[in-house]
Every structure is written in C-alpha cells, then in structure tokens.
C-alpha cells in the first residue's frame, strides 16, 4: 500500500512538512481510504471471490431446480437468477456494513476510528461504496453464470429505468446498511446472531425468488421498507417479458418510493450515528469485548 493508493496525508511542497487535509478534502480521503480495502484488499485472497460467487450460485441452482421440478414458466428461472445475484448485496450489507463496527470493535480498530480526526459518516460511506463496487462485480458474475447455465431470456423494456432503479435501490440499501451499522455499534456477540437472523426472513418478504405480487397487498407494502423489495420487483418488470404482469406496483411509483427511501435512510444514518457514538462513548462500550 503506497501513498498514491492511499493518499490520506499528502506531502506539501515544503519538504518534511506533511499537509493535513481538513473539511471536505479529509472527508473524501477518508471515504477513499475506507473503500480501498473493500475493492482491492479483498482480492488479496483469491479463494474468497470463488466462495462469494459459488455459495449464492448454489442457492440459485437449487431454487431453479425446484422450479424446473414443479414445471414453472421459464421467466421464473430468470427471477431466481436475478434474486440470487441480489442476495450478494444483502449479505454484504448485513455482514460487511451492519455488523462491521462490531468486528472493528473486536479487533480494536473502532477506538482508532473514533479518535482519528475524520468523520465516522465518511468511514461508513467508504465501506458502502467499496462494498457496493466489489459486490456488484460478484453479482455480475453470478448473473452471467446463472444466465448462461439456464439460458435466461431477458427482454429489457428500458435500460435507462433499469439503471435508475439499480442505482436508487443500491443507494437506499447501503443507506440502510449505514443506519444499521450505527445501531449495531452497541452490540457485541448478538450482532453475529442478529445478522444471521436477518437472512432468510428478508429473502422471503422481499421476494428474492418469486414476485412479491403473490403476497397480500399490505404485506408486500410493508416489506417495501427494504429497498431490495421494490428494486427487485422493478428490475424484473423491466427485464422480463412477463415481468409487468407479475409486478407489484408500477415501475414509476417504485422509482419514486426508492428515491424517498434513499433520503430517509441516509438522513437517519447521519443522525443515528451521531447519537449512538455519543451513547457508546458515555457507556464505555467502544472497546468492550464480550465473547
């Protein structure tokens, strides 16, 4: 790791005196510094990439085989492939965003984050951006392999809307992850269990493997608080021939709701982080390690 790759403190023209950034420059450099290990550092152990792709792909294959065994229409295979790829993002938000500050606490880094003159919000944003880039690559690999393996037919009605939905869903999702991270700041061993608990129930209510239109309206509406619910539903409507007939609500409304969720989660993350940080300091829980 050299200074070009991680320019937190840059050298000033006056030899021997490091120039210390402040304000938005420091914020930006913190974001880059925290995003760096997410994008580049994770590639250090190549086998992680293999397992990160293989494990969700195994789930995709299993659910596709179930659909084939019970004679489902071909588009459902595509729904599963798309949902399976999106599980990578949910797993990333749960394990590498929400419970990340717990891991940092366990390893002794959290106190350093708090002591350093940078913004915790910048650290969370760096984690989110780095995680999003790295996970997008993995999700893309899962989508390509799954699509080729099961010959999924995509009929995209609007690439622009598809791109907009994806970006909005990711922004809202990682905003939610940042909010959870601040809430998890106070947790210890239970953080692991709570992240573990939030997998299958979310796969169910968000319709990772089937259209949520099949739920009663109010259940589907309530589950829309998780950005992937509407994101997946809109992407399926835009990418598959039978998508619009199986969609929950119109894509336009889903885009609007996702935009609102982005603002709500990012704002909530900002305020919750400040509150939880103060609370954790007051209660002396930033360095505790309850195994």
């Amino acid at each position: 790791m050299n200074s070009e790759q991680l320019p937190v403190i840059s050298q000033s023209p006056i030899a021997g005196r490091p120039h210390k950034n402040t304000g938005w420059r420091l914020f930006l450099q913190t974001v880059i510094a925290r995003a760096y290990p997410r994008v580049v550092g994770q590639q250090g152990e190549k086998s992680w990439m293999f397992f990160d792709v293989l494990l969700p792909l195994g789930g995709v294959i299993a659910y596709v085989c179930v659909y084939k065994a019970i004679g489902a229409p071909e588009d459902y295979v595509g729904f599963v492939v798309m949902g399976g790829a999106m599980t990578a993002f949910w797993m990333n938000v749960l394990w590498s965003m929400s419970s990340q500050l717990y891991w940092e606490k366990e390893q002794g880094n959290l106190a350093l984050y708090i002591m350093a003159p940078n913004s915790m919000m910048a650290i969370l944003l760096g984690m989110a951006l780095g995680g999003m880039v790295a996970t997008t690559l993995r999700a893309l690999v899962i989508t390509i392999i799954g699509s080729l393996m099961f010959q999924v037919q995509y009929v995209v009605s609007s690439y622009l809307q598809l791109f907009a939905v994806f970006i909005l869903a990711m922004t809202a999702l990682y905003g939610m992850g940042m909010m959870f991270a601040s809430m998890f700041l106070l947790l210890s061993r239970e953080a692991w269990h709570l992240s573990n608990l939030a997998q299958e129930p979310v796969y169910l209510v968000s319709g990772f493997y089937f259209p949520i239109r099949n739920f009663p309206f109010w259940i589907a509406a309530a589950s829309s608080i998780i950005p992937l619910t509407l994101g997946l539903d809109a992407m399926r409507q835009l990418a598959f021939a039978s998508g619009p007939t199986l969609g929950f609500i119109s894509v336009g409304i889903e885009i609007g709701v996702l935009a609102v969720l982005c603002v709500v989660f990012l704002t909530a993350a900002h305020f919750l982080l400040a509150y939880m940080e103060k609370l954790a300091i007051r209660e002396g829980r930033l360095t505790e390690s309850r195994r």
Partner: protein, 290 residues
Amino acid sequence: MTTLALQNPKSRLRNFVVAAWLGWQIESNWTDPFLFAVYSVVKPISAAAILVVMYSIITQGNFDSPVFPYIYLGNTFYMYVGAIMTGISWTIIDDREHYKTLKYMYIAPISVPVYLIGRGVAKFIVGSISVTITILFGVFFLHVRIDPLAVNWPMFVLALVVGVLMLAMMGLMLAGVTLLTAHHYGAYGEAVAGALYLFSGAIFPLEVLPAYLRPVGYIMPTTYWLELIRRSLVGSVAQAFPTLSGLSDMQILGILVGLTVAFGILSIVVFRWCEYRARERGLIDRVTNY
C-alpha cells in the same frame, strides 16, 4: 496421565458431556430466552416458507400432491446438515480464531474428536428445535399431511439416529480439513453443505440434474437418509419422484448404514491425517484475524 485419561471411557463420557454443556452455553447465552426463541423459530420457518410460496405460486396451491411433502420434509430435515456437520467444523474456527482456546484443548487431557462431537450436541439440540417447529408449522398451517398413527416410528427413529451419526462423522472430516485452512471463515463448511443440498435430492429429485452429475447424489448418504426420513413420515412420498422408488425401505436403510460406516472410517482417517499435518505445520494456534 494423559494417556490413561484418554483411554478411560468414563473420562471420554465426561469430556463429551462437558463439551455438550459448553456448546449449549455458547449457542444460547448470547441473549435472553425470548429473543433466542424468536431466533429459533423465525429463521427456519422463513426458509421453509420461501419454498412453500414458490410451490404454491406454480401449482396453484396443490398441497395434496406427494411432491409437496417431498420438498417440505427434505428441506426441513436438511437443517440437521447445517446444524451438525457444518456446526462441528465451525467449532474449529470458533475455538481457534474467536475464543483462542483450541490450543488449550490440545494440551488438556481430553480427546479432541470427542470434544468436537460433544460441541455438536448443542447444534443438534438447536437444530432439533428448528426441525420440530418447522414440521409443526407445516402440519398446522401449510397442509403437510403427517398422520401420527401412520408414521413408521421405529424406522423414523432408526433413520434419525443413523443420520445424526453420519452427519457428526462428516462434520469431523470437515473439522479436520478446517484445521489446515485459514482465511476461509466457514466457507468450506457452507460449500460442502450447499453441494449436499444440490446433490442429495433434498428439495428436488436427482432427475432434474444433468445425467453426468446424478452419480454424485447416489454416493451421498444424505440422499438415502432424507428419502428414508420422508418415507417413514409420509409413506406416499415415495411416489413423488422416480429416483429411489425402485428400492424398498430396508434396501435404502442398508445402503444408508453401509455408506455411514464407510464415511465414518474415512472421516477418522482424514481427521487424524489433517490433525497430524496441522500439528506439524504449527496451525493449531494460528490466528488469522478472521
């Protein structure tokens, strides 16, 4: 003294019981009983509900077909694979990386394989709670038709006992491999469990797989174990798919016992070899900041 302790069956039993108690404390004391109960109920029911919703969408709610209990029961009992097999191998990572106590286990007068299997008991108990709740939920709310008077109880109990032993031995083999690996969290365990999920006909018949992959399923003991469990609970499920319909219950039991013995011997050999290599390479107390 160490050798004598290891050879004494009473010491082994005490070792096993204490490991089981320790495992239970680790599994359950991270929260209050209410949250633990919620955790034990919500997760398995959600996993089962995904399949139920998928099935009901495509079949328009045809729960009378034997295909439904095939899928539901296969998925439910597969929870034991994750709980026992993956759980035992996870103990290595937990003790080595998290609690940093694995080295102390090796210098204590205990048998490490017995200790590992003892730790698996807690996973078995938690898994049994999940399996029971999921079955009851299926019977009362999801049209899974299990008639207690028609269940072949002796076959069910026998299949369950053999299956749990088989999974424990496979977990021991995986624990051996985990002793040699670093930087991989529980990925090996999850990958093996995922592969078994695909190749054991847990939620779909092997016929759905390409012909060249099916033999993998035929040599897996979990394939026969799940089939036997399903048949003992719902006899008609044997007709759901043709995979093993040509075999009688006793034939399947015979194959299951034979494969369990074979995998059991292989597990002990693999674990001993991996353990030797781990000691030789100084991996027992290696911490990788997982």
